[in-house]
Amino acid sequence: MIRVENIYKRFGDLVVLNGVSFEVPKGTTTVILGRSGIGKSVLLKCIVRLIEPDDGKIFIEGKNISELSLKELNDLRKDIGFLFQSAALYDSMSVRENLAFPLVRHTDLSDSEIEERVKETLRLVGLSEAIDKMPSELSGGMRKRIGLARSLILHPKIMLYDEPTTGLDPVTSKEIAKLIIDMQNKFKMTNIVVTHDMVVALSTADRILLLDNGNFIFDGTPDELIKSEIDMAKKFLSTSLD
């Protein structure tokens, strides 16, 4: 469903992605694990063409995204949900307006149908009571949940998570990880989760890719990662046990 072929990206002299390739089969969850600042988010943003790679190809549902017109790209983006690291809720809009925004733009639903879909999606993330709040009134965990709700509201086929638990306490992080699993069980989406949080990685992944120095140094299941002798993998595991 998602195929990434030989992606290169550099910023000045810094090579961030050095010929990265991988595939994500339909309906599965792939976690891209790596230290902060290693280029995981850059890779995720290349997949939705928020950042143009210097070289390489990315195919989504068989379409080479760099060859799509803006209209074709936007049609494809309607099938992709993206949870940003900061949740990226629109500050000037209430929670209701944040969630309704994609529906107003991209569907022919009536006002009452939009209201019903907003409430239904908020129920999914367990935040029905937040419907009239402004983003500034929400905690970090709540913002992530509302961001997830907004990403899910168009029922996307693909879901991309950019550091879904960054800045959250361990308890809330576990709740978000559980939410990712629940959403996957309900909607059967194709997921890519970018994280440095081993708890999230091990609990959500069908497959884990470990990114270091511009390329993957591990590709396997969570069990294989636990048994791996790779130094970086051991370091990540040791931090998750601390």
């Binding site: 936007n74 940003f84 990226a88 168009l154």
Partner: protein, 256 residues
């Protein structure tokens, strides 16, 4: 060295601004037109600036009247004071000063708002959700500032003329209807058009500069602050530069 860097930065902004302006004109005539967003921004701009332009407008007229009265009295031409106040305000002071206040109040606000949206990934989020952020955030704001500044300027002109009347009655015994009559006798149609017309350009400048700097902000909160303050500096400079060109152009088109 700092001065040279500032000059370089100014011209780099002007270069980027030119591309941004071309993009604006390519997008502005294409649907959807986002009328409700434009109306919302116009409401906000009006509320934001109403009180400050009211006070400023009144004081402009008052001070202009008080300063000019003794000068005109020296030549025995005090009866020309209402006309002089109105002409000064309508042709130059109203449009230019309102535009500069607008740049300070609205331009900085747009720079900060869009800058903040950029660094907190809200603009990226909009793009990923298949909504063109340029059309939704930039085009609507620039249209709103372009339409709102002329309306505010007309209002400021009236308020300044009112302030001028207060200056007149301090030294002369003149009724308000007579004051207005003297103004109507002094101004011509060719005085009204250039003053109002150029505020469309000034409004556009404030909107496009603030949007450009905010939309392209980087480096976190520092970038937001820079977008906000730089938008005031650049748009104020451009307003003054464009004004000097337009004044000359006006004198060629309306030689009287």
């Amino acid at each position: 060295m700092k001065f040279v860097e500032n000059i370089k930065y100014f011209f780099s902004v002007i270069g980027g601004l030119t591309d941004f302006t071309i993009r604006f004109f390519l997008e502005v005539f294409r649907p959807p037109y986002e009328i409700s967003e434009i109306r919302k921004h116009m409401d906000e701009l009006g509320v934001k600036t109403f009180s400050i332009v009211s006070v400023t407008g009144f004081i402009i007229g008052l001070v202009l009247g008080m300063q000019s009265q003794p000068v005109l009295a020296r030549f025995g031409a005090e009866m020309f004071l209402p006309g002089m106040i109105a002409l000064s305000v309508i042709r130059e002071l109203g449009p230019a000063l309102t535009a500069l206040i607008f740049a300070g109040r609205v331009g900085s606000g747009i720079g900060a708002e869009l800058g903040s949206m950029r660094v907190t990934e809200q603009i990226d989020a909009m793009e990923v959700s298949a909504v063109d952020p340029f059309r939704f955030l930039v085009v609507t704001r620039v249209i709103a500032t372009t339409l709102m500044l002329p309306l505010l300027t007309i209002y400021v002109d009236f308020i300044a003329i009112l302030g001028g009347y207060v200056a007149v009655i301090i030294t002369q015994n003149m009724t308000f209807p007579y004051y207005i009559q003297l103004i109507l006798d002094a101004i011509r149609f060719s005085d009204l058009i250039p003053g109002i017309s150029k505020t469309f350009v000034f409004g556009f400048v404030v909107g496009i500069v603030g949007s450009y700097l905010g939309f392209n902000a980087s480096k976190g909160t520092e970038g937001v602050g820079k977008a906000s303050t730089t938008s005031v500096v650049i748009s104020s400079l451009l307003i003054l530069l464009i004004d000097s060109v337009l004044v000359r152009l006006t004198l060629i088109i309306f030689p009287d």
